[in-house]
């Protein structure tokens, strides 16, 4: 337990059309939220012991996280949502230690969130009040989820 613990955050987006984001856009529009485009990402947060040197490479090689045929993978500099973004996480979360049966060397806990970003016609983030409304009415079920914003 002497090694320093750090959180490394990876975002996985789809290189092919994101049907889930498309569906979210349709439902949000129906709810009267002024959004022109929805961007979704899978956020993988890995709690690592010390310096896990090859972590980014290892993560990229795990197809349950990143299938190069359809995904793009990027490491995030921060372990918090970016401005204008919301992360939806399970409320009572038991972090996993393996992904699809595969443990990652040096990784002691794995957490997964879904990141949503709502953009207007000009490609800018919608107003924070609109994002809040989207979270309250649709993106988060507070019975078992929490919404994390900046």
């Amino acid at each position: 337990m002497t090694a320093a613990t750090a959180t490394r955050t990876f975002a996985v987006t789809l290189a092919i059309p994101d049907n889930e984001a498309f569906t979210a856009l349709e439902t949000l529009s129906r709810l009267g939220i002024g959004v022109a485009r929805v961007v979704r990402a899978d956020i993988w947060q890995l709690e690592v012991d010390g310096a896990a040197d090859d972590l980014a490479k290892t993560v990229a090689s795990i197809e349950a996280i990143h299938n190069p045929n359809k995904h793009r993978l990027a490491e995030r500099p921060s372990d918090r949502p970016a401005s204008g973004e919301v992360w939806i996480a399970p409320r009572d979360e038991a972090p996993a230690t393996a992904v699809a049966g595969r443990t990652i060397p040096g990784v002691r806990a794995i957490r997964r969130r879904t990141a949503w970003r709502l953009l207007d016609d000009d490609g800018r983030d919608v107003a924070p009040t609109e994002l809040d409304r989207a979270i309250e009415t649709f993106l988060c079920n507070p019975a078992f989820q929490v919404a994390i914003t900046t």
Partner: protein, 774 residues
Amino acid sequence: MTVVLEDALARGRRLGLALTDDELRRIAEHLGRVPTDTELFAFDAQWSEHCSYKSSREHLKKLPTEGPSVLLGVGEDAGIVRLGEWNGETYGIVVAHESHNHPSQVVPFEGAATGIGGIVRDVLCMGAEVIGVADPLRFGRLENEHCRYVAQQVVDGIAAYGNAIGVPNVGGDVFFDESFDDNVLVNVVALGLVKEKDIIHSRAPKGSAGWDIVLVGKATDRSGFGGASFSSLTLDEEDAEANKGAVQVPDPFLKNVLMRATYAVFAELRAQGIEAGFKDLGAGGLAGCSAELCAAGGMGAEVELERVSTAQRDLPPEVIAIGETQERLCWIVPPSFTPLLLSIYNEMYGLPRIARGACAAVIGKVTNSRRYVATHRGETVMDVDLAFLTGGVRYARESVTRAAVEQSEDEQERVVTEALRARPSTLGERLRAVLAHRDVCSRAAIYERYDGVVRGCTAIPPGFADAGVLVPIPGAPLGVAVGIGGNPRYGKIHPRRAGELAVVEAIARVTAVGARASGLTDCLNFGDPTVPEQMGEFVAAVDGLAHAARELGVPYVSGNVSLYNRSSNGSSVAPSPIVGCIGTIADVSRTATKGFKRPGSAIVVTSPLDLRLGGSVIAEVLGVRSTTLPAANHHAFARQCALVLDGLENGSIAAAHAVGDGGTLAAIAKMSLASEAGIGFRVDPRPVAEHAGHDAAWFAEVPAFVVEVIDAVAFAELTARHRVAAYDAGQTIGEPVCLIGDERVPLDGAREAWEAPLRGFYGAAVAHPSTGSG
């Protein structure tokens, strides 16, 4: 001409095609000009092993394919077995069998999921309602990290796809062997229900010149470009990376809607009495599918590739023509029907709103020319003779039958006996070790991930009997069972006998539930056909498959061949002839689950005591390398099957279970483990020990059944009539315990040994993208 040839060869190499120089030469000579890129890709796909069976076809002729139970034989996307009559209609069960081995090794989740997706389309395009799937799986050793990953992802992929489209998974099997470490086998059998008069054929109907060719489904994209030749090539590490682009992306949500929309189209076609042509897009993409449809009907095709809905702009014509984007189907319909067809898919079922770019669209016309002509923005990119394109090539591969390294059976038994002496143990302990063996232990942790009961037609779900049973026509007592056979331990020892035993096992499984074996479907997974020894294994196994099926009188109605299954060091996977048997049942009330039903029944084994242990699990548990595999006596086995069917029919048998991996004692124990009433058993091991000289005979894996007899008099009459030398092995008892002589093994302890291995592996919770609800 030389210039043309050189140019063709250079292009073929530049495009990275699997076509050989000789094949490229034949194409260029036939065309008399330099082939276009689109043509080269089309030939590459059509002449691949996957599409043309160029190495295997000669040998497949040996398989028996005719019989009164065959409604539609081998030749189209799927065969059809006669199910029976109901309300004046003859019903058939559509049977298709495919492998998705190489894609599943490279991207296991998508590979396994698209395997289900593809086979379901094969059944659908016969005009059938898809009623069930079954998956034979062969994984590498779970001690190996990557193998663990593949074994998890394949199961997740099958679950995610099959569950979402709402087709129950009612059978299958799983083996683990190091020969699959670099090359898993993911086979899949799919079943459909169709009335004989409603069968749709995969061909352009007679006189269909001028009819519309309609492409339905997902927008064409770059995914799955080069899949057909990819699945016929040997994998190595670098290829695996390069080939990821060839793996298709599954969309079970779209498929769910596509299936239901297609059922609505079937209803309209039937109401209007229209004969249409219908085929799914698989290997070879749009060009392969529409070419085969038109070739089969003796027609030609003119296709305008720019009319194809694409996900990206400016896709090159060869990708539009040959790419293997999933979830697509091709119709040939009279123009008068086209507007309704388009409106069902595009309006009623709203495909464009289900997935971006998904739709039904007319992309060309049927012609009388017997040529396949494709244009792209006014330019002809393909103009070939259809018979030449779809006829493929044939190779007579050299094969060598492996030199006989077999010991005599006496020698094999001597080695086993020595090992038994060297490792003294009680029968109960040996039973526990056998139940915990990777080939014997409970598969519940896998099949519980599959929905085995969606559609509400499941009579026996996975795990409760040797075969899954469906009652596909609501209100009718007709049932269909599907059982899988094939054992890599056997394949490695003796490919021919392994082929025979695969047939025997599949038939035994459906027989044990009370179904009559009506049709077989085979998937032949072997190594490199250009290596004579590996080709020899294929030839030997096909001989075995043919021999057993002939002897037992059950025809093949469909099948598939997957070659080049081998590891990077060139060694083949365990020769794996995998057989599915379709059993039909006139009265589902006569079926039985395998669990013991009541105390006080006689436990009877339907064969003479057999002492041969070559290839058995007990031999492996004892650390003995098997070099022989017992020959099967098909006539004796056929009489046992007749006995079991009659015993279930007249009610003298309450439960039956085929002896398989682990032998007789494991089979008896599994009948207790499956007992809903918690029924245990008592066996007296002495007679066997005295007869055999050792107690391992309890674990011999011979073709036989263990049956629970509840009417000894009626059963004795049957054994006499069928000349079966059955022996009493013990009795059922009303206590959850295995009494083996003086030894007492609580059923809970046996259950723990049996369930723990895969529960530990598949039961663990993991973080994973959602596999959905239900």
